[in-house]
Amino acid sequence: MEDIIRIKDLKKQFGKNKVLKGIDFDLKTGERVVVLGPSGSGKSTFLRCINRMEEPTSGEIYFGNTLITDKNIQKMRQDIGMVFQHFNLISNLTVMENLTLAPVKLKLMNGETAEKKARGLLRHIDLLDKAESFPASLSGGQKQRIAIIRAMMMEPKVLLFDEPTSALDPESIGDVLDLIREVADGGMTIMIVTHEMSFAKEIATRVVFIDEGKIIEEGTPEEFFAHPKTPRVKEFLEKVL
């Protein structure tokens, strides 16, 4: 499989605070990488640098063979979907408008096709009756599942999940994880920052552990969870499992 994302010596600092201290990372098509790490380790920042929700301080990120720059990032984002911790459904637009705005505006499909596709996806997640609702009237779990299909509307080549269940009540976490699982089973290339260890174990083809702005260990979930190599990961796993 070819690399879809290549990251070289990525650094990010906020003021004097060095959050990412040089990350090298490759993502292959079809991989499902789970990014783990203690809070404040920089894992969300790492993910957010990939589609430039955060401007990297230095380093290079390639999407396919193209170096991502300020000039071409807007186009790249059509292929790099993102699901946020706080869903970020657009509150002045209906569910249907949330789903169709970008694909139609960016001329990826016409209005009719987009609506048809949106209806299909909404039906699939059992929320077709919410098509004309505004986000304010939805529960967290409903919002996040809609946010996921909103990203899917763009037919991205890779999907980034930034702690997709952290802001949810326990009951709706299951629904959201089911949907992510389904997206993964469909063959989507995925990167996910999460604290759901059992889900990580189940879904990941590779686990990456970040601490203090560096990748300190990575491997298959079997290796990572059963035979961690570094003391830091051992300590982390003892606490969370």
């Binding site: 979907g81 002045n92 705005l101 505006k105 909103r150």
Partner: protein, 232 residues
């Protein structure tokens, strides 16, 4: 008390007085209306510059806007009015009403800019991020997402600013403009202290009526905007 009623009757039966009041009222409305329009347009431009993405081209415009709002908001309106009249537009024959409109308009712009800027900035950054992550342009994000949400925060405060401008135009009488405030003073003058009461009172009612009308309209708009918020 008899005297008071006599005064009221006198005011409303003397055509010159009525004419003076209406003339003053009309001037107040004219200055207010055009000053508000200038304030809204210029204020919007300043707010857009102020909230625009930082870039090389925006450094100087942003700086100018910052200086402008700082000076306007940091000095008294009356002083700004004097400067406009006696320094900048101290040109013989230049229409006073235009000088006044510009003075109040330029002043209001700084406040309108602040209202709009804070309205735009109060929109959750996650809304912009959602648009960016979908590949939308900054322009589309502003037009479709940020602006419609900001409007809801802006309208009430903008209503306040409009009301402030209308009342503040009363100081135009300080530079000799015959506005509503001046008319009231004029009608009352040349007699005794008590003679001021009625015209001042009537002028107050005129101001109140306009402010009340605007408050009413703003409330209606707010309600309309809220309705669209809770549509299910």
């Amino acid at each position: 008390m008899d005297n008071f009623f006599e005064k009221i009757v006198e005011l409303f039966t003397t055509p010159e007085y009525i004419e003076s009041l209406l003339h003053g009222f009309l001037l107040t409305l004219q200055i207010s209306f055009f000053a508000i329009i200038i304030g809204l347009i210029l204020g919007t431009v300043i707010a857009l510059v102020d909230t625009a993405q930082k870039s090389r081209w925006m450094i100087i415009p942003k700086f100018i806007c910052k200086v402008y709002t700082t000076i306007i908001r940091g000095t008294p309106m009356a002083l700004q009015l004097f400067i406009m009249f006696f320094v900048i537009f101290a040109i013989r024959g230049f229409p006073q009403i235009i000088t006044a409109i510009l003075a109040f308009g330029f002043n209001s712009a700084a406040y309108v800019a602040e209202v709009i800027r804070s309205g735009i900035q109060s929109v959750d950054s996650g809304q912009t991020e959602a648009g960016l992550a979908l590949g939308l342009s900054r322009f589309t994000i502003f037009r479709k997402i940020v602006a419609p949400q900001a409007i809801k925060n802006i309208i009430p405060a903008l209503g306040n600013e409009i009301i402030t401008v209308i009342k503040e135009t009363a100081i135009a009488s300080m530079v000799g403009l015959y506005d509503l405030n001046m008319a009231a003073k004029d009608i009352g003058s040349g007699q005794n202290m008590a003679s001021y009461i009625v015209p001042m009172f009537v002028a107050a009612l005129f101001y109140l009526a306009v402010v009340y009308l605007i408050t009413f309209v703003i409330k209606r708009i707010e309600k309309k905007l809220r309705e669209s918020d809770s549509r299910v």
